[in-house]
Amino acid sequence: MKLKKTVLAAAALALAVGPTAVSAQLADDITLVSWGGAYQKSQHRAYVEPYIADNPEVTAVWDESSYEAVAKLRAMNEAGNVTWDLVDVVASDAIRLCDEGLAMEIDHDELLAPAPDGSSASEDFGDLIVSDCFIPQIVYSTTFGYRTDMVGSTPPTDVCAVFDTATYPGKRSLEKRPINNMEWALICDGVPKADVYDVLETDEGQARAFAKLDTIKDDVIWWSAGADTPQLLADGEVVIGSTYNGRLFSVIEEQDQPVGMLWDAQVFDLDGWIIPVGLPADRLARAKDFVRFATDTQRLADQAKYISYGPARMSSAPLVGQHADLGIDMAPHMPTDPENAKNTFLYNYEWWADYRDDLDAKFQAWLAQ
């Protein structure tokens, strides 16, 4: 009789905990891959700390390899030895990983928690689910920061200041890749925003973008890590430079540097999780359990307490509060804030997924010459 009771109790418990708990044994270790720096810290505080508080048996290890996630996942996949459980990547990398069969396709509604009002995860994330493998986390934007003490009395108001070496002499920093730079070059060369990708699809359009970039090539310091531009700005090595809006937030608000920020022509982008293909059942179960927790409405809203990126769920937006340490309202610092999003540029994932290889090769050749 006793046995039966225990079984019943266990079954009841399993039902109460939900569908993920019954599936398989959960691994006690989880390896999370992210970008390091303030961003990773915000994830740690918003997701990992509360998760471990609920599941004390779990140890989480961070790997700061998101920069080369595609290369490393390919190597791991080739070796049949995948050591990562959840990988934080930008949407374009997620698309690529999904295309190559390195990331797992998921059913968003089944895996992810519904919104508090009961609407399904896919409704809550909406258009931001840009790939079957991608679990959106934040909306960020790539935009420009400038030294307020180096621009004289005419601080820049639009993005084309980058190309204006007469008014704003000095070095500028741009990311060492074609994405965004090509678009800005065309916009500042007079191409209407709506036509940018049509123009960029042609050889002439690409030549036009490179010609525009040529005008400032000698003045550019190319960055490959998000922290470069903030550092270069803080050191006064550049007068203006592109970076992620969250990095500029921390330079301006947390470190109090003489830096200003341009929201003009900011390019929205997405960042989120993917689950690698080929995980053993117990680790997969743990990864799923964690990601369900880490992308629920409250957790995504919590992350905005530590970094100025917009939560990917619509239901999280009203919950965004104040910065955990500085106590300032975070909403006006979100790239999605209506005040900031007056003139945004939409990044075309599908287009870049198609043309990335072509333009990367051309861009790298152009850089070396």
Binding site: T31, V33, G36, G37, V61, W62, D63, E64, S65, K72, A75, M76, E78, A79, G80, N81, T83, S224, A225, G226, A227, D228, Q231, D235
Partner: protein, 284 residues
């Protein structure tokens, strides 16, 4: 060179001093970059340059906060412990295999000696980026990429040439009649090795080991490719620090590492002298 003869002409004198000034400048060039980071690591500000307070020797301009950061920041601590876990194991492997092989190589008749030597020395000759690329591809295939043992094996391979070179160098001066004498007096080969050969080549083994240790401890290219976050070493953390989040903590770490190098350098110098004395190659 040591002094000017009293009859030296004006041009000779001029040249003599000019030459010394030139050499002084080169020495300055060699040493200044290493010295300059030491005071900067005590900067109270988060800058990479001398603040006015520092130049005025104001005590408020200096602080230990970057050292404090190094010893409390989990990233740096983890990197330090990884280095401490990887380097000795790699050293142990290269020293044990290397010493054995060096003894083999110093025998009078070794088949294919030149070819073997070339293979064993090759990890030192091949540019690190190529070793790293090859190991990355190959270790991926066999599942060693991103594992502790992958990094240890890679570092051991890189350290081997140093052990081979230093140990064979001590064996060059080794008088083989000593082992023969020991054998003729009834010592078995193991005893001969332990009691006669080993004490004489020990300085070479230790300095080879130090070289292997510093190779692994300083290495960044191979670990960047072969390792994963779990194997992030101190140089790796410095490299990402320099490339991504430049913080003056790097200068504190650099100062600590300079201190470590000075200690190691002194050890090697003492061992070298001792070895030469033991082998009667230098007076004193």
């Amino acid at each position: 060179m040591s002094g000017l003869p009293p009859y030296a002409s004006f041009t000779q004198k001029l040249w003599h001093y000019a030459f010394r000034v030139i050499c002084g400048i080169v020495f300055f060039f060699l040493i200044a970059p290493i010295i300059v980071i030491i005071p900067l690591s005590f900067n109270a500000q988060d800058f990479f340059t001398f603040t006015p307070e520092m130049l005025a020797l104001d005590p408020d301009g200096y602080s230990l906060k970057h050292y404090n950061d190094f010893f409390t920041n989990p990233d740096w601590q983890q990197a330090m412990w990884n280095s401490i876990r990887i380097a000795p194991m790699a050293t142990l492997l290269s020293v044990s295999f290397g010493t054995l092989a060096a003894i083999g190589l110093s025998q009078p008749h070794v088949p294919f000696r030149r070819a073997i030597m070339a293979i064993l020395i090759s990890p030192m000759i091949v540019p690190l980026i190529i070793s790293a690329a090859g190991m990355y591809f190959f270790y991926s295939r066999i599942g060693l990429q991103g594992s502790y043992w992958g990094v240890v094996l890679a570092h051991a391979a890189l350290g081997i040439p140093f052990v081979i070179i230093t140990v064979t160098a001590t064996l060059v001066g080794f008088d083989r009649s000593l082992t023969r004498a020991a054998a003729s007096l009834g010592a078995n080969p193991v005893t001969t090795f332990a009691k006669v050969q080993m004490p004489l080549i020990l300085p070479g083994v230790i300095s080879g080991g130090l070289f292997a240790f510093i190779t692994s401890f300083d290495e960044v290219v191979v670990v960047l490719f072969v390792g994963s976050a779990g194997q992030k070493t101190l140089p790796w953390q410095m490299f990402t620090g320099l490339r991504e989040q430049i913080s003056p903590t790097i200068l504190a770490v650099a100062t600590i590492l300079v201190t470590v190098s000075v200690v190691l350098l002194a050890t090697i110098e003492i061992l070298r002298r001792r070895s030469e004395r033991l082998r009667g190659m230098s007076p004193g």
